[in-house]
């Protein structure tokens, strides 16, 4: 979760068009979101890069499999965080 919050700090600073709240329920993707698809792509890539820096593991979060799940792992910060956890465990 901290990784995501760090990224959001940078993100809010870099992109003045968006202001994402640092709460587990902040919607990232799907109905009620404030990010457009371009903003979302930038956020996810930034999270991937940060994860790579911190864990040394190269993860592609947004792939076809994740995108086609019934319950999107990208819906909120909390679901994204869980998803990252499970992906990291899968890899180790």
């Amino acid at each position: 979760m901290n990784v995501i919050y760090d990224v959001i700090d940078d993100f809010n600073e870099e992109y003045s068009d968006y202001h994402l709240e640092k709460t587990p329920n902040t919607i990232l993707f799907g109905p009620g979101r404030q990010l457009d698809s371009l903003g979302f792509v930038n956020l996810i890539v930034a999270v991937e890069e940060r994860l790579c820096d911190e864990t040394g593991q190269s993860l592609t979060l947004a792939d076809e499999k994740a995108m086609s799940r019934q319950n999107s792992p990208f819906r909120t910060i909390a679901t994204l965080s869980e998803y990252i956890q499970s992906r990291l465990e899968e890899q180790s």
Partner: protein
């Protein structure tokens, strides 16, 4: 007979400089005698007209003379330079040469016979017409190289009309349509072929100074290197009248800087492809990317934003690929263009187009912006697949001096956001210390991956 118009010129210009090679000047009289020498030599070696001859060489006095003698002998010539040495076996197995003429670094020629007996319909067309041929390998970025077969007679026809006589550096390569074009332009007009042993900025610029070069035909990548190194400040380049650039899109920022550094030099864009030859072109001005293309023997049309060309000097076809021509002879260049009346502007290869959520991004326009930044030596932009937007824009940047990575990347994205629409801004910026161009001084982009 094939090259009479050239040899008559050589006779006329016999006291003039024809070739400069390794600080030695060779006159047209020398060249004429040398062509005659090789004409006899080819006869005595029993090379038959229509035989396929690889000419392993670079621009040198004997390489030029023997090329002319082979054309006159109606050989099918396959020029190869050292830059494609790693592909030699592949090229041989495609072109199936009967002979190899190798010109070594001392300009000495050796001949060897290969056990091929090539039967290709296009070779037979040339043999039946008793015309010399030219085989060039197109430097395709993906897959097998394509062997382009030309009738040398239709290439030579272009040079029969007298044009301005110039002294030029042979920057473009001997086995490339651009290099062939420079060579015949110069020989047909009594110009001087000034060769260089390597293509470093200092070598090329010192050659311009020493031999009072008037024309530099080159690529945007090389011009960018000259500007960045500021090597131009160390040489007297006052002889330079014309710089031509082609082979890849010119970043607008590079062109503007070039014009500011060389305000009295005509800076002109050239346009051509191995498959159709070099078109006549006229840039709107020295600092404009808009140009008129066409000229005698060429027709152009734009279909769905893509340039198509019909040319008298078109190749016969590929040896190893199906015909790319439409039934009525048009060739799809796969170059996307913008049109404004008579003028066009090249946007980039359709294969390099990046599709971000349905919106088009051409690498060159993003590169042009990033290139303006202080600490950027080189940049190449490419697409990467992404399930959300189809593709995302990525940039690979070579910094001039070491800088804190994160800050530098942040700075690049910020600069891009203030200079272009948001979908064009690179989502990923990677830093590299490698050079990002080929032996032809052409930018090497990672191939865009498309989403189907």
């Amino acid at each position: 007979m094939m090259i009479d118009f050239l040899l008559n010129n050589f006779e006329r210009y016999k006291k003039e400089d024809a070739v400069v090679w390794r600080d030695k000047v060779y006159s047209y009289e020398w060249l004429l005698n040398r062509v005659r020498h090789y004409q006899t030599e080819i006869q005595t070696r029993n090379i038959a007209p229509g035989d396929v001859v690889v000419l392993e060489a670079d621009f040198s006095p004997n390489a030029i003379a023997v090329l002319l003698a082979l054309i006159d002998h109606r050989s099918i010539v396959v020029p190869l330079t050292k830059t494609v040495i790693s592909k030699k076996a592949e090229f041989f197995s495609i072109a199936k040469p009967e002979y190899v003429l190798a010109v070594d670094s001392d300009d000495q020629i050796s001949l060897s016979r290969l056990p091929y007996d090539p039967e290709y319909p296009f070779y037979n067309v040339l043999r039946e017409k008793k015309h010399p041929g030219l085989v060039l390998f197109s430097s395709g970025s993906t897959g097998e190289s394509k062997a382009v077969v030309h009738d040398f007679v239709s290439i030579l026809n272009k040079y029969k009309k007298p044009r301005k006589s110039l002294r030029a550096v042979t920057f473009l390569l001997y086995d490339h349509i651009g290099g062939i074009n420079t060579l015949f332009y110069l020989l047909a007009n009594g110009g001087c072929v000034i060769t260089v042993q390597d293509r470093n900025p200092d070598t090329v610029l010192s050659t311009i100074e020493r031999y009072r070069v008037e024309l530099l035909p080159t690529s945007p990548t090389f011009l960018n290197l000259i500007l960045l190194s500021e090597a131009y400040q160390n040489f007297d380049l006052s002889s330079l009248k014309r710089i031509t650039y082609g082979t890849e899109p010119m970043p607008e920022s590079t062109l503007k800087r070039l014009h500011a550094v060389f305000p009295d030099v005509d800076i002109l864009q050239t346009y051509g492809l191995s498959e159709v030859g070099i078109l006549s072109s006229k840039s709107k001005s020295s600092d404009s990317l808009w140009m008129k293309v066409g000229g005698e023997g060429f027709q152009t049309r734009i279909v769905d934003g893509i340039l198509h060309i019909k040319a008298e000097s078109s190749m016969l076809g590929y040896l190893n690929a199906p015909s790319p021509f439409t039934e009525d002879g048009w060739f799809n260049t796969e170059d996307a263009v913008e049109q404004d009346g008579e003028y066009i502007r090249i946007l980039g290869r359709t294969s390099e187009l990046i599709n971000v959520g349905g919106q088009k991004v051409y690498p060159a326009e993003v590169e042009s912006v990033i290139q303006q930044m202080e600490n950027v030596v080189e940049v190449s932009v490419f697409g990467e697949n992404n399930p959300i937007t189809g593709q995302i824009v990525c940039a690979r940047v070579t910094p001039r001096v070491e800088q804190e990575e994160k800050e530098f990347i942040k700075g690049i994205k910020k600069y891009c956001r203030s200079h272009m629409e948001s979908f064009k801004v690179p989502v990923k910026v990677l830093l590299t210390r490698d050079k990002q161009y080929s032996a032809r001084f052409k930018k090497q982009r990672l191939t865009s991956t498309s989403h189907s």
